[in-house]
Symmetry: C2
Subunit: 340 residues, 2 copies
């Protein structure tokens, strides 16, 4: 595909390149009608606006960046493998950046990426990312951005997610069917959209089964494992202690198991445990743990495919830009009905 | 630091740049004496020879590549975090490449990296890498290379390893002290130097305690989990079945636990299990597993520090180029003495 410049657009529309430039930057000097005409043609011809036009158009860097919170987490490790598989097959390099869940770090990384060294970005935002200004800057610079798992809606070229609400509903329903009536929900303090969604699915299931959601059921954790362990232990010593715990993130599984062991509460006899986790060791835990397993590898593949299609200027059906791949409920002993 | 070109060297030595070039490429046209003079000054002024001089000298890419077998493995995930911490603090980008244990892929990646897009390379070779020709090419092109964990000796600018021999000896000794007399050793078929070292440590401990190493004790696994599970099960059904198993790699832990469960052999009562593994879930397995825990994060940090020092042309004491960080023996229930 030949690269389209502002000159091409100007010639085709019989306008000056200055007018094209102003129209593309949404200047007040230009009428809405002209802006519409310019944008329409730019879209049709797949004009790529970008500060580093030479780098982006003249010679593609054949590099995509993957900005993720961390790598010592089964979900992201598996997602990287998915991205890597697609990228490698297409001759793309993958630059991996870790934000360590820090918004400031995410901002610094994206700023750095504005320098044109990449052709596109895959991102799963930090727990602290509440506004998308820093991501919008890349989008405005014409860089294809695809979100996966932890997303901001409608600002990139695509979103790959899983069915967190439904999965959480099904898991909660399963626990209720196993006889649980007082189910705790563990989460981190920051507002992450997917965790909120999981919380909603859980609450809806409680409601549908006539159970009451109590604020006591919400255990808000921090980044400190030992603190979380103490927090859960404290809750387990409560007279109204839960008969089940859902860990909404993998990181909280270990402290939950530890807290139960320290309180001598046996799983699943006294308390049932389940988690959103992709741990390969789930089947050999003491006891094996019921999980909502996310399609991490597949999500990585889908996100990379979408991004590379966009980079190559291939047409992507709008329907294909929002990919939802369902999670799986893997039932194991930690939530089994205990019959004496 | 100002970048040193061949011109600088030529002027300082009162030679032509052609002579400098030939001397640096070890041409037969140049006398040994002249070569020595040129190389000495080049070293003193830290001249960086490289095909892509403009990219490497004119403007550093401020990017290092980390070529590793995989990421869905606790050791490498933690090592990446260590590398990333040091690199980020120094303003370096980290390009992560996965070889998936395939030598062909490792070769293709390194060939790609010859194009000058990086300032230095951190590498942990694949299980298939038996000769270092493809790595030598990068070294010859003047690119700083630091090995970590899985190394080739004496060809890069540094090596970061752990004490695999000693750790394996201590683990085997521990099992013998727990009463084990027939200890199996699980490994992959390919010849990986660190695994050979672990095997030697295990054999030496057997020898020192008067136990006989039998070829039956060696279980050679493949990349197929189910096949490995069957292989271990078969061995566990043997009349001379082992009373302990050492998994020399983390990947073999899950199939070992599964095989024991399928054979109804309880750990640690009937059989003791230990592994070289950095699994965060080791403490909540059924039962909690004794591990040789590698200092993955610290090894990543050490390797990145060494590489960045070299890239910056800082002098590195030869003694500092071989870093050995000891592993830890974490004793847990899977190897505890069983007393009735």
């Amino acid at each position: 595909m030949k690269n389209i410049s502002m000159k091409h657009l100007a010639k085709a529309l019989n306008l000056s390149t200055a007018t094209i430039s102003k129209a593309l930057s949404d200047s007040y000097d230009i009428s809405d009608e002209t802006k519409q005409r310019v944008l329409k043609l730019a879209r049709e011809l797949r004009y790529i606006p970008h500060a580093q036009a030479s780098s982006l158009r003249g010679k593609k860097s054949k590099t995509i960046a993957m900005v993720i919170p961390e790598v010592a987490d089964s979900y992201f490790a598996q997602a990287i493998n998915g991205v890597e598989k697609i990228a490698y097959a297409d001759g793309f390099h993958v630059l991996i950046y870790l934000t360590h869940e820090q918004l400031e770090r995410e901002k610094a990384i994206l700023k750095e990426l504005l320098n044109g060294r990449i052709d596109g970005l895959l991102i799963s935002v930090t727990r602290q990312s509440e506004e998308a200004y820093h991501i919008n800057e890349l989008v405005a610079a014409g860089l294809p951005v695809v979100f996966f798992d932890r997303i901001f809606e409608n600002i990139g070229r695509g979103e790959v997610t899983t069915n967190d609400y439904r999965a959480s509903y099904l898991l909660t329903e399963h626990l209720i069917q196993q006889g649980c009536r007082n189910i705790d929900f563990l989460l981190f303090s920051n507002a992450l959209s997917i965790i909120k969604t999981r919380l909603e699915g859980y609450k809806q299931a409680l409601l549908d089964y006539g159970l009451i959601f109590n604020t006591e059921n919400l255990i808000v954790c921090s980044n400190h494992d030992q603190e979380n362990e103490r927090l859960i232990q404290y809750r387990l010593g409560h007279k109204n202690r839960p008969d089940a715990i859902i860990a909404s993130v993998e990181k909280l599984v270990i402290c939950t198991y530890h807290a139960c062991a320290l309180k001598h509460l046996s799983i699943p006899e006294t308390i049932k445990i389940a988690a959103f986790a992709n741990l390969p060791t789930a089947s050999i835990l003491q006891p094996p743990m019921t999980t909502i397993t996310q399609p991490a590898f597949e999500m990585g593949q889908a996100a990379a495919s979408l991004l590379i299609k966009t980079i190559k200027g291939k047409s992507v059906d709008p329907a294909e830009t929002k990919v939802i791949i369902p999670s799986k409920l893997d039932l194991r002993k930690s939530t089994m009905l205990y019959t004496t």
